[in-house]
Amino acid sequence: KDRYVHANNSAYDTLDPHTVRDVARVASRLNFYDGLYRWVDNPPQLIPWLAKDHTVSEDGKTWTFNLRDDVTFHDGTKMTAKDVVYSFERMLGLKKGAGSLFLPMIDPGNTVAVDDYTVAFTLKEPSAIFAALVPDILVVNSALVAANTKDDDMGQGYLIDHVAGSGSYMLQRYDPARGFIGERFAEHFAGWGEKYLDEIEFRTVLETNTRIQGLMRGDYQGLDGYLAPDQVERLREDPNVQILEEESMRVFHFAVHNGRAPMDDKNFRMVLTHAFDYDGYINEIMKGTVARNPTIVPGNLWGAPKVPGYTFDLAKAKEYLDAYKAEHGEEIRTLKIGTLAGFSETEQAAALMQNGLAQLGINVEIESSPWPVINSNMQNPETMPDMVPYWKSTYYADPNNWIGEQYGSRYAPTRNVSDYHNAEVDAMLEKALIITDQAERAKLYEEATTQVYNDAAGVWIYNTKWYGPYASKLKNVRFCPVGNGQDMRWAYIED
Amino acid sequence: MTETPILSVSDLTVRFPIRGPFARKLGEIRALDGVSFDLAQGEILGLVGESGCGKSTLGKTLMGIQAPNSGSILFEGTEIAGRTPREARALRRRLQYAYQDPGASLDPRWKIGKSLEEPLIIHTDLPRRERLEKVREILSAVGLPAGHADLFPHEISGGQQRRVGLARILMLNPEVVILDEPTAGLDVSVQATVLRLFRELRDTFDLTYIFISHDLSVVRLMCHRVAVMYLGRIVEMGPVEELMEHPKHPYTQSLLAAIPRVNGPRVTENFWLEGEPADAAKLPPGCRFQGRCPHVQPICRQEDPPDRMVGARSVACHFAGDVFPPKPSTKEVQNA
């Protein structure tokens, strides 16, 4: 029996596919559940999954999906349109995870089962990104969930540690403190290749160092993909370990508070963009494992403009600073950078920025907080620190995920945390959201992004490469930035 | 002793509750149970009794350190029981208590001189120079070299500590001093010098003493009158010689018989008293000596005997004057 043990850097505290939508807990969603479509490969590609195909109505509002008729859930029940409707309404009802992404586009009650194998969604207005979100419509076994619903909780109590899905693996054991074990679901509709993993175990191992040691010792066959370059380097030297390398879409940048002095002045923001040692950071701290990304949009995605990128140039920064001072006076208050506790790259980036600004006579304080704290602070312009270095990951492979969400007024203040408002940019972003022609959309995004770049609305640093550390024996890991390489149905072990 | 007594105590009662968990009262110790006596100016009243019979409690209650449950204490005609702290403080200057353990009554971190100075700081406005002057005077009065002012309590001997304890009290020119077991734990040779000191100080400073002791022979040497306590009560009181020669209470009788006396008859061989004092928390009804008394009668188990005057003596026994110690054994002690 072939087993795969994966060491994850955070806990699988819930198996409910509809309440969370983060990369940390993607493995349970991908391996236990199926969506209407599925993202695969890199660059990400949508392939039909539970749905065979779909059509969009003339007005662009009604999306009709034709479902497969050979899908069974783990308990043997056949999957029908009813399950899809139930699942989607559940997502909207829970307002968590992907549900809250759909809520602005579609109201509850607008999803209907046309027949047993046809589902229709009627949106409030045409949406260019609905398609990108379709893989998030993970279908649960409605009968099973309904049977286990207590006090109108929509089965939350049940699904938190049970699986009611049709996915490639069936839940065998689960312990929120340790992780889960999945057993291959032989009757999966997509069938299985020649070789496959009989059992997958996803285990929580919080310590990076322990994960690495465990992989080298053979305790684990795969790790959570984000490793510091020093660690990647170390793993490379181990003969039992292979490092898969992929282009990724995870842009590391400083979100800068554009609404607060002194950053409300473009000259000062220019100071910031020129005060960061991009090369030092990328070449030394990241050991060259990442690529410079001059804007918020990943360079390997369509819609990214060709701009040179700002450089570390204190002389230039000084000029901008002088210009700023000529207008606003000598005095510059101490700036505050919020970092993510436990994510040393953010700390090191902050320290580097602090160092650069210190040489210009600007004082910076660093405050490190856990992600939930800083995240909730960022969502309020009052409490948003002056700068926050963090990553913008791929939730769906569309430029809107980056430029739209980070700098469009529609997303302020929840995801546009920079308090950046530019009517021109907004107009372009809004237009790109409702038209479906990719070429035209690409142009709009390039323009909008260039505008934001010229405004120096943030300090954009790099686009992550993905390094997948796996046991050498593990083959055929199909990496996709959306699933982070954790869709295990394709992989197998070769002795 | 016809003049009004300097101190007059009547029916003084002190009880200590015994508390268990939840502060529940489990019982009480009758440390003082209706104690009455008068003290004349210049008199030395001895107070004897077994350990735990309430001698110190009586002393401390007179002092005002311990509040009585009931009863009155007249000091020169004024009631001092239940005074406000301020008034009590004024009175305390003239009524002082010398602790049983003089070493422990001195702050271990203070030099002798500083401890002696303290009463003056509290009660007078004397400038420092005069205070130091008084300290020197008093040290020589109790027979200590002035250099001792710079020593710590643990650096001097027990006898010297006792002198310091006295000196500290004398700083306030008291009239009545309660000496609590002033010779306990001292060797006979040291004891003798300490006793002489008390005598001398009494003459010099015109003091009245209450002399608490469990050593009858010392009491006999020092006191005019003696009160014998047993489990919180004065069971016999009277002039010292008379009481010692002809004890009337069976307890006094046995107490006297228990003391080994050099060249006297050997008492231990046929000492008649059996058992130990009853638990102060569980006194039986009736006489508190009933459990050990060789003359016990039914009435003793029912009624607590009142104080009876037999001659110059008050005795708390139903049969005072009628009972005598068992005859000492005829077996003569071999003497040289």
Binding site: - | V188, V190, S217, A257, V262, E269, N270, A336
Partner: protein, 350 residues
């Protein structure tokens, strides 16, 4: 005259501490014969307890320094570490101990019965000689012997007039009164059927009436069983009560030893006389002995009383020999109050 049971000869020892060497015992001598009650008297701090503990071998080892002398109990050298095993079998069996403070000398967390059993397990007279080689903690207490021992214990508890002994055995020490505890200690001292009991101020913690009971009991039991007793006390009255002979110590030296009557009526050493006079009943009840004890760190050479003695001369600067002042009465003084003679040869060996 019976042969000496215990002989202490020229015992000289002290403790090394922060302040230097405290020379506590300086050539101390004592002889106890079988069945006699020997009073060891002297003022507080003169070394009574130290001498008693030296015999019992329980002086604090780390600071102790023995400078010379000898303790002999029935042929066993009680001082030399070489005869540790012989000492072990003497202690608790042939020599037992009654402590000063019955309140703290019993182990508070074991019942009285457990403690007596443990004692009898090791020190019962019925225990076969030549102890087993098993580690002490694993040594069993044979059932048969335990039964007999238990009977003897009950007998003894009755003898010391402890009421309801069976209940008493189940009690913890804090549950019985001081007088009863001291009776218990007497019983425990007698149970191993020893030849000598060392009682270190057994009544100072007790009241006079109880003291009278205890002293009487001790005297009676000791003479009934022909057990010798060393009774240390600073209460001359108690010593007078029950002792056959008395040894007086001053500052770590024995100064005079005499039969009890001689002692009180014909004190020959100036110190003894002054001590007796200091008693409240004595003539000097308010005089005492002027001066203070010499420091143990720098004692004067020779007789240590010389600093307070008005008869002292140059000759006192060497330790006087034991002169005979009467039958069984020896004095170490250059200027005795009564005439003394140099000892005859035999006495010196005694």
């Amino acid at each position: 005259m019976a042969d000496a049971l215990l002989t202490v000869e020229g015992l000289s020892l002290g403790f090394r501490g922060d302040g230097g060497f405290a020379h506590i015992l300086d050539g101390a001598n004592m002889t106890v014969r079988g069945g006699e009650i020997m009073g060891l008297v002297g003022e507080s701090g003169c070394g009574k307890t130290t001498l008693a503990r030296a015999i019992l071998g329980v002086l604090p080892r780390h600071s102790l320094e023995i400078r010379g002398g000898r303790i002999d109990f029935g042929g066993v050298d009680m001082l030399s570490p070489d005869s540790a095993e012989a000492q072990e079998s003497v202690r608790g069996r042939r020599v037992t101990f009654i402590p000063q403070d019955p309140f703290t000398s019993l182990n508070p967390v074991f019942t009285i019965g457990q403690q007596i059993d443990e004692l009898m397990k090791w020190k019962s007279p019925r225990r076969a000689a030549g102890s087993s080689r098993a580690p002490a903690l694993l040594t069993p207490y044979p059932r048969a012997r335990r039964r007999i021992d238990r009977e003897k214990v009950m007998e003894m508890l009755n003898l010391v007039q402890l009421p309801r002994p069976d209940q008493l055995l189940r009690k913890y020490p804090h549950e019985v009164s001081g007088g009863q505890r001291q009776r218990l200690m007497i019983a425990m001292a007698l149970l191993p059927e020893p030849d000598l009991i060392i009682a270190d101020e057994p009544t100072t913690a007790l009241d006079v009436t109880i003291q009278a009971q205890i002293l009487g009991l001790l005297r009676k039991l000791a003479s009934d069983r022909d057990v010798a007793v060393i009774l240390t006390t600073h209460d001359l009255g108690s010593a007078y009560e029950i002792c056959d002979r008395i040894t007086v110590m001053y500052a770590g030296q024995d100064v005079e030893a005499a039969p009890v009557a001689e002692f009180f009526n014909r004190p020959t050493h100036p110190y003894t006389a002054k001590l007796l006079a200091s008693l409240p009943e004595g003539g000097g009840g308010m005089t005492g002995i002027p001066g203070e004890l010499p420091s143990f760190y720098a004692p004067p050479p020779g007789c240590r009383f010389q600093t307070r003695c008005e008869r002292a001369t140059e000759g006192c600067r060497t330790r006087p020999p034991a002169n005979v002042a009467g039958p069984g009465h020896v004095v170490r003084c250059v200027h005795p109050l009564f005439e003394t003679a140099a000892p005859v040869q035999k006495e010196a060996q005694g």
